[in-house]
Every structure is written in structure tokens, then in C-alpha cells.
Symmetry: D3
Subunit: 287 residues, 6 copies
């Protein structure tokens, strides 16, 4: 890229209104799954988070870890089974899920942030009783220890932010009886964002956003009002794996998060493009 330092400085200068607008605000970033597979990309995302934190944004990182869980299950001779889109989670699977999410994916992200010069603490929903959960209520086959968030105690998150760390959160939750539950990371991120009265929820995925024509990346819908969502579902534009992601954005916005985004984590620095430039790189949901 033949950009000289004068042009670079101009670009930094152009970030001023965005930095100013986000100063002191909470932004919850959901990261995970297929968007998280490339190591160089992952390091770049962590650097973006550190940068955003340094310029005054209170970043909260919520992650999933599907692929790593599947791999570990396979390694222990188990197969990944899904029931109505949810991972079937018997006691043994639950043990693996907790171990991988809270011990591997989580701490690896923390390690990466620390290595890139940031400061992070890795927590899961068990820590400080952060994510209270109960078994999901579902018709049909029982998916096992899959939970839904009943309450969020924001104290451990805020304590972590206040002391200067980026909280990195694995979405394991807990019932009052200590029963652990596997919680969908998108849903948890939406609830966390809502309870923190976050400015934004940004979902870093491996798709461009909501496409009018799934085959055509140029057909990206840049902005969706949550009231339009039912129509888009009926039209089939929101379908398949996009349904839960969109529902989380809708949920977050309904509960008071200012804006929710689905953006493409595979595009280098997509977070910075979305938050720090005039370009909307994915799909934005507003109330």
C-alpha cells in the first residue's frame, strides 16, 4: 500500500469524531466460531480490541468455541450431535465444553491480548455468579445441559473493566444449585450487552452481513430496523444460521442497546472499519 505518513496522519485525524462519540461507552464484541480460525486474523482482531480500549471504549469480548469443542469431543471419541440447532450436551459433553471454552479458547484469547500488549482477564459465567442460567425450554428432543440466561450479574464485568482489563467471557452459565449449562454465545452476548447498557453489540462472523441474495455479496443490506425483521424472515432473506444471530441483535436492541451489528470478521480490521470510519461494513440493526 503506497500510503505515505502524511496520508496516514490524515486518516488518524479523520477518526476523531468516532473516537469522541464512543469515548467511555461499552461495546460488546461477540467473536467466535468460524471467524476465529485464522491465527493471524485473530491476532489482528485482538490488536483492534486493544486499540479501541486505549482510545477510551470499554470493550467486552464474548466468545464461543464450537470448532474447538467439536475437535476435543472427537479426540475423546465422541461425536458432536445437534438438536434443533443446539449442541446435544450430556454430562460428559458438558465437561468437555466447559474445559474447552473456559480453559482453552478463553485463556488463549487472553494470552493473545496480553502478548499484543493489552491487559485482559478471562472469565466465564460461573465467575462471580455472572451468568445465572436454567435449562432451555424446548419442545421435542431434550438437548441436555443447554441453558438460557435468566440473569446477568454485571459486577464482575464492571469490576474487571474498572481495573483496566478487557473482560474475555466464555458463555458457560450456572443454576442456583451449581449446575453448569452450555449457553449459546450469541444469546449470552446480547443479554450481557443489554444489562451493561452497551452502546453497541458487534457480532464478528464469517459472513458479510445480511444479504438480499445469498449468492451475491454485493446485495448486502446495510441497515435493518428491528420492526422489518419479521418481514425479512417471511421473505426468506433471514434464514438458516442467520436466524439466531439476527434474533440476538433484535433482542439486544429491544433491551436498549443502541445499535447491533453483524460484520465479517474475515475482513482485516472490520471492527475498526465499522466503528472508526464512515463505512458501514456489515448490517446494522437499530430500533
Amino acid at each position: 500500500m503506497g500510503i505515505n505518513n502524511q496520508e496516514k496522519a490524515l486518516i488518524l485525524a479523520q477518526a476523531l469524531p468516532y473516537i469522541k462519540a464512543y469515548n467511555g461507552k461499552v461495546v460488546v464484541v461477540k467473536y467466535g466460531g468460524n471467524a476465529m480460525t485464522d491465527d493471524r486474523l485473530k491476532a489482528a482482531v485482538m490488536r483492534d480490541l486493544i486499540l479501541l480500549r486505549l482510545v477510551g471504549i470499554k470493550i467486552v469480548l464474548v466468545h464461543g468455541g464450537g470448532p474447538e469443542i467439536s475437535e476435543m469431543l472427537k479426540e475423546t471419541g465422541r461425536e458432536s450431535r445437534f438438536v434443533g440447532g443446539l449442541r446435544y450436551t450430556d454430562e460428559d459433553t458438558l465437561r468437555i465444553v466447559q474445559m474447552v471454552l473456559a480453559g482453552k479458547t478463553n485463556k488463549d484469547l487472553v494470552n493473545l491480548i496480553q502478548k499484543e500488549g493489552g491487559s485482559a482477564l478471562g472469565l466465564c459465567g460461573i465467575d462471580g455468579g455472572m451468568l445465572k442460567a436454567r435449562k432451555v425450554r424446548i419442545t421435542g428432543e431434550d438437548p441436555g445441559f443447554v441453558g438460557e440466561v435468566t440473569a446477568v450479574d454485571t459486577k464482575p464485568i464492571l469490576d474487571t473493566i474498572d481495573r483496566g482489563y478487557i473482560p474475555v467471557i466464555a458463555t458457560i452459565g450456572c443454576g442456583a444449585d451449581g449446575q453448569v449449562y452450555n449457553i449459546n454465545a450469541d444469546t449470552a452476548a446480547a443479554r450481557i450487552a443489554a444489562e451493561l447498557r452497551a452502546e453497541n453489540l458487534v457480532s464478528l462472523t464469517d459472513v458479510r452481513g445480511l444479504l438480499r441474495d445469498k449468492e451475491d455479496e454485493e446485495s448486502l443490506i446495510p441497515e435493518v430496523c428491528v420492526s422489518e425483521v419479521p418481514g425479512l424472515m417471511r421473505e426468506g432473506i433471514i434464514s438458516g444460521g442467520m436466524i439466531p444471530k439476527v434474533e440476538c441483535c433484535v433482542e439486544a436492541v429491544r433491551r436498549g442497546v443502541h445499535r447491533a451489528f453483524i460484520i465479517d470478521g474475515r475482513i482485516p480490521h472490520s471492527l475498526l472499519i465499522e466503528l472508526m470510519t464512515d463505512e458501514g461494513i456489515g448490517t446494522m440493526f437499530v430500533s
Copy 2:
């Protein structure tokens, strides 16, 4: 136990000098291995920690997790191999170690504390760059990614205590390059206690303490001055698995921890007996 409430109250009253003496002090508790296998005992230890915290002691819980690691290695078709007393840790083993310690043992302890009414955050040495480590230097066979602590950043521990939590620490460490190391929990606990200028280091084990005659639990040595340790080693009284435990106590005391204890975690409420009564239940190391 036919003890009436009046006798109970008297006993509470007798704890006053101990509570007063420990008020506001840091006590590092090392817990792990075979002392940690019984579930009811584990819950009882957690309740003791919560109690000690409530009466004003700044409790830090450092844990190992050998048995759980071995089990998981077995489950994934690997065998536990030890080199000079250290677990041989190749890259794959390291991954399992991190997963089990930071994701399973650690969060299970946090879960237990929360369930019993306490408040805890589960951290490992990666979090906030707490445990800086490098490869152990050892003559003979290379044990792989086994580390020794080069520095302790007490900030994440103190932040956690300040905000009202019991920090629960898995002894995974990290080099400047992000390389993860498996660190012996006893050693790490000793270093953490020293850096926190802890009043006490208490090692909860599955032995009575230091025995003059290994076959006779009545031959317990209640107090050892660190200068006596070399002699006790020559006499063979400190031998086998006790050597590293004793060395950690010596190390802690040498670095300024007031007193270090090896006590029997299998005895119900041994922690309370040691800290809150006039009875020395195990072996105390002093300078």
C-alpha cells in the same frame, strides 16, 4: 456431637484472638491433588475459605489438578509420564493441562465457592500476565513445557481481592512470547505468597505433616525452623514427595512469608483448626 449452643458460643468467642490477629492479612492456601478428591470435603474446605474471608482474612486459593489431568490424558489416549518428578509436557499434553486446570478444576472450585455463598473469580497465570515463566532448567531428560516462575504480577490478584472476591488461581504461566508453561502448583503458591507478602502459606495435602516416623502419625513434627531442613533431609525424615512441598515452605519463609504450614486436608476443617485454634494440626515452618 452433643455440644449445646452455649458451648458453641464459647468456642466462637475463643476464636477472637485468632480473628483479630489475622484481620486484613493475606493467607495463601495451596489445595490440590489427592487432598481434593472427596466432594464433601472439598465443599467443606470452600466453606472454610468463605468463613475466613468473611472474618477479614484475604484468602488466595492456588490449586493443582494432577489427578484430573491424568484422567483427561487417559481419556484422550495419552499416558501420564513423569521426568524427574515433573510431568512430561509436550505440546499436546500442555493443551490438555491448560484446559483441565484453567477450565475444569479452576472453574469447578469457583462454582463451589459461589454455590456455598462466597464470591470468587477463577484466574490462571495467563490472566493479566500474572505468572511470568520460562522453561525449567534441568539436567537430564527434557520435560517439555514445564515452567518456573520468573516474576509475579500481583495486580490481578490484588484487584480481585479488593473487589471482594476470593481469587482462585490455576498455575499455568506464560513467557514473554506467549508460550504457555505448566508450573508446579506448590512452587507457584510459594512465589505468589512471597510476592503478596502473605502472613501464611498453608499447603493442604493428604498427609498429616512431617512425620519423624512415616509409619506413625503420632510422630508428627509440629514446628520446623527452616535452618533445620537440611539436617532433616540428610536424616531422611524429609524425603520423596515431601521434598518439593517442604522446599516450597522454605522458599516462602525465606522470601518473607511469616509462617508456612503443611496440614492434612483430609481432616475436616483442618484449615480452621490451624488458623483459628491453639492447636497446630500439621507442621509449621518458620524462619
Copy 3:
């Protein structure tokens, strides 16, 4: 008492739920009169208060001092005279009352707390304008400078607690004109407890509590709802010296104190039994 340290530790462990429940709460203890005569018992009560403070309860000690006042009056050649249950208090008596309560009983209690290892400040209602009072309005003979509380300024009490002391309060009050009044300690304690939004008011007396049959200590009524009090009065179960004590408990509970207790201060560690065990040792008043 043949209780070994293991049993002792178990008993400490059993105090956890009580310590947890009272953590950070205010408990006002009314102490005085005949319950306060035995020196060893008095020292034991002070140690109990220090213990309760150390385990996180904000203790406020309110005391009377009838016997010491009577003795001093006698020493100066005066007789104690009572009008409708109130000490007849002319100007000379008032001077003696203030001197004994604020200078003797109060400072002796502070001295005892300090000697037993606690930290206390001795105040009376004059200090910081804490207890505003006016002459009691009574039909029949004028009891002189006997006052009733018109307002409580909690600032000096809270300042004292905040800085780490147990406030010890003599119930002398003051009109806006500086006129001093002798105030009944039970009534003052009830008002102080109410204004501090205390969790409990505990009245340490020289009776077991409310007895269904005054001759039979086994007939103790463990719990009374304040709405039952009028009935118990009509039945004569609440009578004589119990009437003002019960009225204070009712008043405190009506004004928002969670629970009020009349317990027997002559029983060693009755405070600990009541607050730290599952046994209700006296009579509890609830709304």
C-alpha cells in the same frame, strides 16, 4: 468441656451462614442495669462485641447505668426516687446522672473494649448533638429532667463506625437550649436502632425473655409478632418491668428494625448464641 479442636473448628464452620447474613449490617445492643454487674461477664460481653465487629457487623452499644447512679446518689447523701417508673431527676440528680453515665459507666465500657483488643469511642447524646430531647410529657407528678428523644442525628454514630470504632453511647440528651435530659436507655436504643435502619436491636437483660409463666423459665416465648403484644399485655404475660422493654422492641420493629430481641445477658455468650447459632435464646419480636 471436653471438646477437641476438630469439634471446635466444626462449630466455627457452622457459624458461616450467620456471619454471612449479618455482614455489613448494623446491630444495636442495649446493655445495662442488672445485666451489667458481674465483671467477668461484662468483659465476656465486650469480647463478644469485638468478635461480632471483626466478623463484619456494625455494632452500636447503648448502655444505661441505673445501679451506678443510685450508688453515687447515695454516696452524695441523696436517695433514688422513682415517679411512674422514671427516676425523679432534679437538677442535682441530673448532674450526678450525667457524670456517672457519660463519665463512669460509658468510659469504663470503652476501657474494657480497648483492653480486650477492640477499638471504641465513648459518646453521649450531647456529642455532635446526637440525641435531641425534650421533657417527657406525663400526667401526674413531674419527674423533673427526664427526657424523650425528639430526633436522632446519626452522623456522629456513623462517623465513629466508619472510622473503625464501636460507638458506646450513654443516653443523655439535650434540648435546643442546651438543657440536658436523662433519657431511658431502652427507649433511646430503640430510636437509635430505627434511625440507623439497624438489622437487629438486642436488649441484654437479666431475665430469660418473655415467660408465659413467670415462675417457669421453661415457659419462654421464643417469638412474638408485634401485633400479638396488646393481647399478651391484657393476659398479664407482659407486665411490670417487661412493659417498657417490650414497648421498645415493638417501637423499633414498627419503625423498620428487622428484628428485636430480649435476651438474658447473664448467660455467657448469649449474644453469640442468639446471633451466631440456630438457637433463639430469648424472645424475638418481629413485625
Copy 4:
């Protein structure tokens, strides 16, 4: 006094340099004995203290109470006896001394300050373990429980100042064993001033200051360097009751108090004249 408001305002304006110089400084005022007998004068002194506090001076009031003690002893059929200038204090006398000083004189002063619109807490050396004392060592007849200060814990004094009160201190002290001692108020004031690193110690007495000729008030010595004191003693200019007062001033100045004053408390507003005008009304001791 035919002074119009314009002249009054001018006088207020002239106080500026003094108010500025004393802003935030500690001034210990010793008040007591014969200077404290007149009620109107006493009220005026309290108003002066309130004023000085409001304009930013951290006032500490230390008082004696000889006449009230003698009176109470007489009332209880005892006589005041002095041994080498010290009140002979047997156990019974000690009880009366404590009662009168801490319960009467002290709280009456607090009452007066509160009534005049100030805010005060009445403490004695027992409170918070403020004045540690031991038996005075004296050759000749044993004066009984007369103490000398071994240490001052300034925490209760500073806590009281910090929270906005004028601390009013009765000079009763305490041994480690809880034994109470009667301590000379001048000596205690000097030690307290020294430990608080006070700017000034002001002793309000019933004499004009140090007079070159005791019969002639015009022979007042306005300023004495502590090194001149031995000479003045040899000359007999410092003699009798002045000796202990002067010694306290010398002690205070030697221990770092900037200036010590002996002024005449019978002159209306002598405190304000000394501290807020260019006139030295009594004798000033400097190093």
C-alpha cells in the same frame, strides 16, 4: 462601644493575614481551672473556638477541671489533698476524677459548643486508646493513680477533626492493663500538641502571662526563647504555679510545636486577640 459597621468591616478585613497564615493548621487550646469558672466567659471562649474552626483552623480543646473535682470530692465527704503539686489520687478519688472530668466538665464544654452552633465530640484519653499512661515516677510520698503520658495515639483526634468536629479532650489516661490514671492537663496538652505537630499550643489561664514583677501586670514579658527559661527560673521570675505551665510550653516547643502561649483567659476574646491581631496579649514561647 461606638464602632460603626464600616469600622467593623475594616477590622474583619485586617484579620485576613492571620486567617491565611493559620489556614489548615492545628492549634491546641488548653483550657481549665480558674479560667473556666465564669459562665459567660466560657460561652465566649467556645464561640471563639467555633469561629477559629470555621475560618479553617483545626482546633483541639484540652481541658482540666480541678475546681469541679474538688467540689465533687467535698460533696462525697472527701478532701482534696495535694502531694508535690499533684492531687493525691487513691482509687476512690480516681473514680470521682474520671466521672467529673470525662462526664461533667467534658460534656458540659461539648454542650456549650453545640449550643453556640459548633460541632464537637467529647473524648478522654481512654477513647480509642488515645493517651497511654503509666504511674508518675516521683521521689517522696506516693501520689497514687497520677499518670504521665507514655504515648499519644492521634488517630481518634484526627478522625474527629476530619469528620468536622472540635475534639474536646479530658486528660484521663490508661495503662496497657486498663488501669486509669489522672493526668495533668497541661502536660497532656503539650504532648498532644507535639504529636499532632500543632502550629500553636495556647494555654488559657487566669494570669496575664509571665510577669517580670508579679505585682505589676504591666511588666508582662511578651516573648521568651526556651533557652532563656532556666535563667528566668533562677531569677525567680518563673516560680510557683507558673513552673509547670512554662515547662509544658518549653516541652511543646522542644518537641516541634511552632509557638506556645500563656494567655489570660479572663480577658474577653483573648484567644482572638492573640491569634487574629498584631497584639501579643500574653507570653509567647519560641525555640
Copy 5:
């Protein structure tokens, strides 16, 4: 003035109720114009402000600077022109106004306060966006860049007070577009006082106050209820240059300032006479 120090001290003592009443309150002093011409008087006013600040009053000084502006305009060959009582302010005049008010009058007052031993920061309405303004809306000839206050941001004023300074404020304001406006100092002072919920607004002028007969200074009206103002205007008692001054007092009182005063700044220490004695030296406006 033959007043001895004892009388002086008495006068200081008599200030106690006033000092107490104003403790911690905000008083906005408007100073300027012809009241500000005499150098010795100006220094005396500054000393009065320092004194008031030291005795606990949060002083805010708002100033005009008409004569200095006129002089500078003359020096640059311009003439002062007034339109409906407002200085005609074209762009060039505005530049001079800003320069003189914010750079000369303002900093000279700060200099004087610092020199007299106080601590001050000189601000204008541009600093921290303190005075938001827009063009005055007026019928008839356009006065140019003359502004009226649309909002007051009290943060810079309170920050300055909190850190121990007297804020000195030049009444230059600013539109959202950065356009500077010349704002009448009386009006600005009234708005500032209202937004700070000041206890008093004191306007230091060069008249005695409101006179019933303009020729007779003895005809001073000491107190005016704001509801009487329209009547006084109809009667012609409020007329000419007094109209805007009175309107500001009315405005301030209407917006919640407790009392507003017009007093004669030419009388030495008139501020102290008004605030610290029982004499009302000018005219007081109350609601």
C-alpha cells in the same frame, strides 16, 4: 480609629453567626464599571473576596469592563457607540472587547487576588464552553455581536472552586458555531448565580442602592420584594441605569437565588458590611 485589639476581637467574634450561615454557600459577586476604577479600593475588594473565601464562602467573581473597553477603542481610533443601552459591537469592536475583558481586566483582577495572597483562575465564557450565547433579539437598530446567555455550563466554574481557586469570569460568550458575543455582565452574573444555585448575588456598583429620592442618599430603600418592582418602575424610582441592574436582581431571585443585593462598591469593605454584619448597606431584593 482608636479601636483597641480587645474591641477588634469582639468585632471578629460578632461575625460568627454570619460566617456560620454562609459556610459552604456560593456567593456571586458582580464587580465592574465605575466601581472598579480606584486602585486602592480594587485591592481592598480583592482582599475582602479572599477573606470571604477563607472563611468558607464559595466566591465567584463576575466582572465587566466598560471603561477599559472604551479607552482601548479610543486608543485604536474608534468611538464607543451605544444602541438601546447596549454597546454597538461590530467585528472589530468585538475583537477589542474580548481582548480587553478576557486579557486585561480579567487577568489584572486575577493578578491582584494572587498578589494579595489569594488563589484565582481567570476564565471567560469561552473556556470550557461555559457561557453559551446567541445574538440578542432586539427591535430597532442592530447592536451587532451583543449576545444573551442561552445556557450556562457550571462545570468549569465548579471545577475551579473545587480545586481551591476563586473563579474570575469575563462575560464573553460563544455560539455553537464559535461566534463570540459580548454579553452584559449584570445579566450574565444573574444567570450564573441562578445556575449555581447561589445563596446571594451581590452587585458592587457606584451607587448607594435604590433611592426613593435620587438626590438624597438617606432615602435608600433597604429591602425590595421582587413583586414590588413593577410598581417602583411605574413610580420612576427605578429608572435609567438602575433598570438593568434591578432586572438582573429580579431575574436571579426569580430563578432561585436566595437574595440579591445592589451595594455601593465605593464604600470601603461594603461587601463585608453587607455579608458579615447586621447592617444592610444597600438594597436587598427578595422573593
Copy 6:
């Protein structure tokens, strides 16, 4: 500039190490003279300062104002005269200098920062007694009221930073007697930077930096060790107007400022280029 948002985001990301390195550090920016004439450029510099502040740098802006002073002198019929490189400053000139610097240049910069979305307070050395000065000692002709800094009180600067503002400082100083002095802005900036223990002093000028050949901008010397300066002077490479600028950089570095820069304020965003990229745009002075 055909740079897309992805490239822009990359550039932002590349600023991370610089933002991290400067986080919480003080940077003093000297701005003035000919570098400050272009309005668009001035606004851009202010935006850069706001940006740097938002990303965590404690910016202090020190300005001169030579051209505006000269213009105002001319407008009032005076001519600018220089004595040994210093503006000849008689009493009248001094009045104009203060007015222009503190009232015009200073407040215009504050206005610009506020308008661009930042928060600033405009101070001069008189405010809070910030710059203590005395007459420069010079051989030859007396330049009048030209001062040199004798002491810097950093309190007003730090108070302003702490409360969230960018302090904008006009380099007028003051003697103890209140005499105002005109102080060279470069010198003042160097002293201020030293007293604040600033990380950097950045002098924004209208030259490229130090040139080996004055005619050739390509001959820029990027880095100079302060020990090389005498040699460069002898060689004539540092000469004329560069001498005082270089001397200030040397002075700052000698007094502990980490690095001092002379950069070209005419280059858009030169500040950002210097602080936030890997390019050294001007000349850096190090110890």
C-alpha cells in the same frame, strides 16, 4: 486520496504501539508565530490535539502570538521594536502584549478547541501564580518588561488536566510584586515541560527542522544529541532564529524531558505524523 476504508482501518491499527507508548504521558506542544497563521491549519492542529488527548495523552498547549501583537501595536500607532531578539516592552507595550496574548490568541485557541469538540481552559502565567518571573538579565540595551521564568507552579496545569481539559497557556508571567512580564513562549514551554516531567516537548514551527543546508529541505537532520549542539552551532548549522528554539529543546532535555522535537507546523497533521507513525518528520533532540 484513493484510500479505501480497509486501508484506513489498517492505518489506525498501526497506530496501536504509539498510542500505547504515550498513554497517560504529558506532551507539551509549543505552537505559535508563523506556524499559527493559517486558519484551516490551525483548526486541524486543534483537532489533532483533541485526538491525542482522547487517546490518552495529557496535552498541554503553550502558545506565543508575535504577529497578533505586532498587528495590535501597529493598530494603536506603535511600532514593534526588538532588542537582542527580544521585543522591546515598555509599560504600554506590555499592556498590549497581555491583552493580545491572554485575551485574544489564547481565547481564540480555546474557542477553536471547544468548537472542534474538545474541552479547554485558557490560562496565562498569572493564573494561580503559575509562572513566576523576573526581569531578564541582559547586557546592553534594556528590553523593558521582558521576563524569565524563575519558578513554575504546576498545580493549575495539573488541576486543569485532571478535570478533563486541555490547558492552553499564554506565556505572561508575574513577579512576587505583581509586576507582569512578557516571557518568550519557547523558553516558557521548555520550563513547563521540564516541571511537568513531560515525555515530549514538541515545537510546532514554520521550518522543516534543523537543516544541514538551509537551502535544501532534504538536508534535514532527524536526530540530534544535546551534546552535539555546541558543535553544530560552531559549524553555523544552528544559527539565527533557530538558536533560541534549539536552546529550549536542549534545556528541556537537560531538565529531564525525554525527547524534544522541532517540527513543521505547516505540514498537515505533522503532530500526528511525529507522535503516531514511524516517521520522524522534523528534528528530534535527545540526551
